[in-house]
Amino acid sequence: MALHYGEEHLGVTDVFGEDVGPPLGGVFTATQGLKTAWNSPLDERGILGTAMGIAYAGGKPVCEIQFCDYAFNSIDLMKVAGNQRWCSAGAFAMPIVVMTPNGAGIRGSIYHSHSFESWASRLAGWKVVMPSNPLDAYGLMLAAIQDPNPVLVLLPKALMRVKGDQPIPGEPADSDDLGRMIDAPIGDRTDWRPNWPAVEEYIVPIGKAARVREGHSATVLTWGRLVPLCAKAADELAREFGHTYDVIDLRSIFPYDWDLISRSIEKTGRLLIANEDTEVTNFGEHLLRRAIDEHFYDLLVKPRTLMGKHLPGIGMNQVYEDNSVPQYPDVKAAMRDITAEPA
């Protein structure tokens, strides 16, 4: 629906990538019925380069890398896209949006379970966002489209089919009604056209985190798939132990909302950073470094991280995923531990 709003109201000229256009409309069916959607060759470098060319010539492209696992062969092009403005002394803008599913949680095995945010955080000149619910996905996508810089929208795979608590402005209350309006039928879709609801503009500013739970016992800084897990753990730990947590959904990897993070650490004196990317040179380590640099004397206990293991991949058998990236029991235990340690 964000892309529909984008092509109707925000000047999106092209939504494209592998299987993005009809008949499939995306492997997660998120681009069905869009009037500017088209299928590209199975060539990630071509997708990114073509998006750059479209942007040079005045278009507003939203392109998709089908899974972030396949973005690695394009990382130098991403670097180039991020530096075009700086390299040209401000003469050229690069208003492209790249969206790609991110992370684990769908039993995607080795090549459909990667996380990309730590890699992406090193791409200077880009903005990188990762929503954890449908409303934020809508609002961040509209922001990404409106921003005249390259923006990478990382969509947690495990959350792409999860219904949110808050509706998108203009979204029908009944999800079945919505499905009948915008989901393409099974089988022949030649004559099918979507009946779009009258969705409205809703922007989540880039660089603004969300405090999804408010508390005083510890700060839990997280993003993507782990956000609902941290929120759930905060609710349970409040009931079970009376601990309350500031659970912060970062939403923007870069630029990040240091204002909210810093004030929360100052308030609680305890910091847990939780995400599912692999643990060696994880983006959370950058935030940990800043927390130590700027809040060393505010911290009551050692700050800590909960991250994915430094492994070549996530195996197909569920035992691999359960023991590679943080699961709910890991999240809850880590949150319990940081409040249990005496100051």
Binding site: T13, D14, S40, P41, D43, R45, G46, L48, G49, T50, A51, M52, G53, I54, A55, Y56, A57, G58, G59, P61, D76, L77, V80, Q84, R85, W86, C87, S88, A89, G90, A91, F92, A93, P95, A124, G125, K127, L142, A143, Q146, D147, P148, N149, I203, P205, I206, G207, K208, S252, P255, Y256, D257, W258, D259, S262, R263, R290
Partner: protein
Amino acid sequence: MADSNDPDDTPADRGGRLGTAGFIPAVVRSGRDAMSTEVALTVFRQMVRTRALEERGIKMSKSGEAYFWIGGPGEEAVNVCLGLQVNKGAGPAYDYLHLHYRNAGILLGMGMPMLDHVRQLAMTATDRHSMGRNFVGHYAMPEWNVVPVTSVIEVQMVMAPGTALMQKRHGGEGISIAVSGDAGTAEGDFESCLLWSSRPGNELPVLTVVTNNGYGISVTHDSQHAVKHIARRADPYGIRHETIDGNDPVVVWNAVARAMRYVRTQRKPFVLEAMVSRLHGHSSSSGAQRNWQEADCLALFEQKLIDGGVIDADQVAALREEAKAEADDAAVTVAGEPRPTPLDVPLGTYAPSAVDAVYPKDYTGLPQRRR
């Protein structure tokens, strides 16, 4: 569209024309190709200017006035003939240029002053292409659709289909010109360009120009490429192509004109491979010494014009002096110009954004607490 093939349409800043005494032929010929004398003299003058600029750049890299030189001595015929026929302007109605780093002749042919090249070479704050940030020859000129040149080999090839797509939608005769060397075509991005510009029913107006100088830094073309002529790699895609002698401006001028006419009117891709020389090695990193074993397109054209009675030795000498003086003046000018300051370092990272809570105007260092 202006007819850029018409020498009468050539603006004065593209070089003007020479006057000669006595009888001069109407055309200069090479085999079946012919070029009007007026165009030949314009091309020759721009080739002389390009060579003078490159030679000045090499000297600057050795004297310490510059830090690094890379360029295209030996490719002047291709670059100048291409630059003079570009339909220059901003936006999809005009040609887009996806260049690499040996294309000074294209930009001089289009009318860029030498000074704009030398400023980048000297890394000055006045460098209009990159504010002293990029290597020489890494141009960026939005008013002429010259998108930023990168040192990353062949990435320009995957951007060209994007601009061409917008040009095809826009209508008119604007084309996307992607230029690379021969070694770069080993990258998959070359094939990506062929694939994306030839999708059935969605063919795109991309003119791919490969200047084949026979080397990738120290590695010979023949030791790595089984395909004798790179242009033939267009065959499986059904893309028209031609391989030409890039040291003969008469041949090049006509081949570029034919290729451009096809791409402009048919809205389909074309691959033009020009066999050229590499007269000063890869870059200053390999010494940039003159290689006297290879054919010199400028010397050959000079002799052809003298033999044909188009120009005489005195006029050639005058042209050289004029070009050398222009390059020298540019070098003197930049010596006194400001260099970037520490405050310039982050400038231009981000475009202003109404939806960014942290960087609404530009990058300002790591995110901070609001006051």
